[in-house]
């Protein structure tokens, strides 16, 4: 089996023939459903979201809340270890209580999901809004606007997210609502890559013949941007958002772990980890629960992100990115996107090849299928 001639095999065994009239969304669901891992991950994510949304309800059922101290449940003589076996697990406290404070662990965990998912989602929204606006403006604006925005994006990309948010969070007065602040800071610092992707994709789309045709039809720029360009941005933006969400969850947890993210008494997984560090022998679940929750959440979101990317056909996406001729900008963007995904592409080399070849008469054999890249290059 040494002589494998690898045809273009999409991962996840896709290549479903499209029934007549199938819209992009339907096709997307079909492809997503075809991947078992992604389905399981989607289920887990749905469950997590549900838990986060229903946190007050769940804790009400348990009859606890995340902030009440229970000094009666901890053994101050032994340094604050919870009374009872397994960290104080009981019918009242399903997962036991925190050492030293005696706060209910279950309540803190489910409220932690709320904070974690909420902050990550909000940060992602901020990133995408800024990224899309800047990217589209750079691609459609004048040369001068493009230069300015692109340089600015470069600078933003060069800023290390953790360091900057650490520093920024330090100087903002603590009276500011913390979750909003954390989401805002992450969102404001880490939008560079998405802006680059959006810019490259918009440039590619702008060069496509159907956009030229729309111009010849007599439509104005705004209408063309809305009808012809923005729908084409959906796939890469969704794909990248799927990568950003787990990343943002990790960053929020890290910031809280360092003590600058969520502040007590707001429950947060990262912050629980810091506190649990020293208690791992006396109350192992205090450490394992937030760690496990974080792990499962990020893993499920990552797998789901992979699935989304596969379903949106990464090959087509990368082929579209080919031929913009702005490869250095596209490079970092595509590489970051690629880093966390199974089906990354070396869009760079393809780009160079495409533009070196330039336009040539389309071929007989491949003319019908492979024309997109050539069209972009000429």
């Amino acid at each position: 089996m040494s002589d494998v001639l690898i045809a273009s095999q999409a991962p996840g065994g896709t290549d479903l023939s499209v029934p007549p009239g199938a819209s992009g969304a339907r096709q997307f669901w079909r492809r997503l459903r075809a991947q078992r891992a992604a389905l399981v991950a989607a289920g887990v994510v749905a469950l997590l979201v549900l838990v986060a949304l229903a946190a007050p309800l769940l804790t009400a059922i348990e009859g606890q809340d995340p902030t009440t101290y229970h000094p009666d449940l901890i053994d101050s003589a032994r340094g604050g270890v919870p009374i009872g076996s397994f960290g104080g697990i009981s019918g009242e406290h399903w997962l036991g209580v925190e050492p030293q404070t005696g706060r209910d662990l279950f309540a803190r965990l489910v409220y932690g999901a709320r904070v974690s998912l909420g902050v990550a989602l909000a940060a992602t929204v901020v990133q995408i809004v800024i990224g899309v606006v800047v990217g589209v403006a750079a691609a459609l604006g004048t040369r001068w606007v493009d230069q300015l925005l692109s340089r600015f994006t470069d600078i933003i990309v060069a800023m290390p997210l953790m360091i900057m948010s650490l520093a920024l969070l330090a100087i903002v007065p603590s009276s500011f609502p913390r979750p909003v602040l954390v989401a805002g800071v992450i969102g404001l610092i880490a939008w560079g890559n998405i802006a680059k992707i959006v810019r490259a994709q918009t440039l590619t789309l702008k060069g496509l013949d159907y956009v030229s045709a729309a111009r010849l039809s007599g439509w104005g720029t705004w209408r063309i941007a809305r009808r012809e360009l923005l729908p084409g941005l959906a796939a890469p933006v969704i794909t990248y958002a799927a990568i950003l969400i787990p990343q943002n969850i990790t960053v929020e947890a890290a910031l809280s772990f360092l003590g600058v993210g969520m502040k007590p008494p707001t429950p947060s997984w990262g912050q629980m980890l810091t506190a649990a560090d020293v208690w791992y022998q006396a109350a192992p679940q205090y450490l394992l629960l937030p760690a496990g929750a974080l792990f499962v959440t990020v893993l499920a979101l990552t797998v789901l992100g992979d699935g989304v990317r596969t379903a949106l056909d990464p090959r087509a996406a990368s082929r579209l990115r080919v031929g913009t001729g702005r490869r250095r900008e596209a490079k970092v963007a595509s590489v970051t996107a690629a880093a966390s995904v199974t089906t990354a592409t070396s869009a760079v080399s393809a780009t160079s090849v495409a533009s070196v070849t330039g336009a040539s008469g389309a071929s007989g054999e491949s003319g019908e299928s492979g024309g997109a890249a050539q069209g972009g290059a000429s």
Binding site: Y210, A213, A362, G364, G367, E368
Partner: protein, 602 residues
């Protein structure tokens, strides 16, 4: 024993049967061409000869014997010894077929060492030797360059050099010139011819271009849907084709050496109704075929201007009486030399880049387009023809010069694009795309818009019911028709067609060209037809402009330019066009040699 013996070869990919019971043999030193349109399975056969389907999950049945090795039953090692050493393959796209990261000489040396166990130094020397052999000047130095530093033609030479390195008995060339300009194509074909004469190796040429095959091989095998349609000596198959499909194929091929008198016209129904749901490029046997075989004076498509207006419109309204009349209100305009000028460009210039890198893609180009007339613009890649086309429709602003009527994009000058894939928004139904110009000019009556789009769809040979379908449901030819309908929706006076048929199979190409001719006549349109294919341009044009390096080197009535070209470049171009008659092809080869010397002397 034959060099290649293929018996009942069948290759299937899942449900699809790409090759179906194919048999042929190729003697030592002989040359055979596999000719067919896309999807005919010809490239699959080429891969099967080297056992390249092994391990891909493809089903391969039948027997394949190459240079005494049973490819089907050979071990992996035996197969590896066959590949490159006894039978070598040259691929279509020379850039992507070479590793971008290594020097060309090193890549050739690597292949040589695999088969000969030669020392590094000896292999390197061999690489330089074969590079020199295929006509790469200063081969020693250039062997250290990487593929992107070579031009297209040079790359293909390098790939041929790689094939020659181990002195194989068989050379398999899979569309070796498809990605190249016509003059470069001629050089590569000449090179293959010379090498074959000198080394006596067998040649299996896979091509979609009958003209390329005609000049290069002894035998021709026409394929369709994975089966043999016709097989025989070149002169017989091309001269007196026995099968309807072969005739159809030949008739669809545009001829550059057109007739001196009135230009070719459609005999009988001009345009077969395409089967929309059929496989791409699957043209039913409905196309009209002129029974008179072989001669260069027959072409089926391209009913165009020179013919009398009466007969032409008669023929076409006979084709589709119901649909044509609705649209073609002002049809059949009698054209006179003094017809109104609808588009005029004076001293056009367009620069790209700034500072030192600036270059003029189009330089000092002036032209005139009259009502009902087709202006052909022909040139090789990099000649500036596409840039010129985009300036004419207003998509690009000229750096200097002016166009009248000017003012950027305007509805009365429309465009048909080259690439059927990217010219339609995949997320919108074709009806919506066609309706764009109507809505853009302010029409609000939904019923009226739909009705008009249906009319247009039918006018271009599609069905009105296709309004709600999406582009991916159409074949390349059908998508081009949609593109034409969209251009028509704006009620243009001029349509600029930028390589409208270069991505299409030859039979589809003929139909689209015929459609454009019909529309021009019936609607009194003016066409600007931008293309690299000299034959197609001759077929459709009244006037022709030959471009090179951004300038027009020759401009005049089409017959005059083609019959008695004045510019040496035009002559070189014309001499490079492959001829269908093997005898003519041989004569052209001689002409080319002379022309090249002459051009070098200038």
């Amino acid at each position: 024993m034959s060099l290649v013996e293929v018996t009942d070869l069948t290759v299937g990919f899942g449900e699809l049967r790409a090759v179906d019971g194919l048999s042929f043999r190729l003697e030592r030193g002989a040359a055979l061409a596999l000719v067919g349109e896309s999807g005919s399975g010809k490239s699959t056969v080429a891969s099967a000869l080297l056992g390249l389907h092994r391990g891909t999950g493809a089903y391969v049945g039948g027997a394949v014997e190459v240079a005494g090795i049973d490819v089907q039953r050979a071990s992996d090692d035996e197969l590896r010894r066959l590949r490159g050493a006894r039978a070598a393959m040259v691929f279509q796209d020379p850039l992507s077929s070479l590793d971008p990261y290594y020097a060309i000489g090193d890549q050739i040396a690597e292949v040589y060492r695999v088969h000969t166990r030669a020392s590094r130094r000896a292999a390197r020397a061999r690489a330089v030797e074969v590079l020199d052999r295929v006509g790469i000047p200063d081969a020693g130095r250039r062997s250290r360059a990487r593929p992107h530093e070579f031009s297209g033609g040079m790359r293909q030479r390098a790939l041929i050099a790689m094939a020659l390195a181990c002195e194989p008995d068989l050379l398999i060339a899979d569309e070796p010139t498809t990605a190249l300009d016509v003059t470069v194509q001629a050089q590569i074909l000449d090179l293959l011819h010379t090498l074959r004469e000198e080394t006596g190796m067998g040649l299996l040429l896979v091509t979609h271009d009958v003209g390329v095959a005609a000049g290069s091989v002894d035998e021709i095998l026409v394929m369709r849907h994975g089966r043999v349609v016709e097989h025989g000596p070149v002169a017989t198959v091309l001269g007196t084709p026995a099968q309807p499909y072969t005739r159809e194929l030949l008739n669809a091929v545009p001829r550059v050496d057109g007739p001196g008198g009135p230009r070719p016209r459609v005999d009988g129904p001009g345009m077969p109704r395409p089967r929309v749901d059929g496989p791409p490029a699957a043209v039913g046997g409905t196309a009209s075929v002129t029974a008179s075989g072989g001669g260069a004076s027959v072409a089926a498509s391209g009913a165009s201007a020179g013919t009398g207006a009466g007969t032409a419109s008669g023929a076409s309204s006979g084709t589709r009486p119901g649909t044509a009349s609705g649209v073609a209100a002002g049809a059949a305009v009698e054209e006179a030399p003094s017809a109104a000028v609808v588009l005029e460009a004076v001293g056009l210039r367009r620069e790209f880049g700034r500072g030192k890198r600036a270059f003029a893609a189009v330089d000092d180009v002036s032209l005139t387009v009259r009502r009902g007339e087709t202006l052909g613009i022909v040139g090789e890649s990099g000649s500036g023809k596409t840039t010129l086309g985009r300036m004419l429709v207003g998509l690009l602003e000229p750096t200097a010069g002016h166009i009248s009527p000017g003012g950027g994009v305007r509805p009365d000058v429309q465009m048909v694009f080259q690439d059927p894939v990217s010219s339609l928004n995949p997320r919108r139904s074709v009806g919506e795309s066609i309706a764009d110009p109507l809505r853009a000019r302010g029409e609000r009556d939904e019923g009226g818009i739909r009705e008009r789009v249906r009319e247009l769809l039918e006018r271009v040979g599609l069905e009105g019911a296709h309004y709600d379908r999406y582009p991916h449901e159409f074949s390349g030819g059908q998508r081009q028709r949609v593109g034409i309908a969209r251009a028509l929706a704006a009620d243009p006076r001029v349509i600029v067609c930028d390589e409208p048929v270069s991505a299409l199979d030859v039979t589809t190409q003929a139909q689209v060209v015929a459609l454009l001719g019909e529309l021009r006549r019936e609607l009194g349109l003016a066409l600007v037809f931008v293309a690299h294919d000299l034959a197609v341009v001759r077929q459709v044009s009244d006037q022709v402009a030959v471009m090179r390096g951004g300038r027009i080197v020759e401009y005049g009535p089409v017959d005059e330019v083609y019959e008695s070209p004045r510019d040496p470049y035009t002559r070189q171009l014309l001499a490079a066009v492959p001829a269908l008659d093997p005898a003519v092809a041989a004569a052209r080869r001689a002409t080319r040699r002379a022309a090249r010397q002459q051009l070098a002397a200038v």
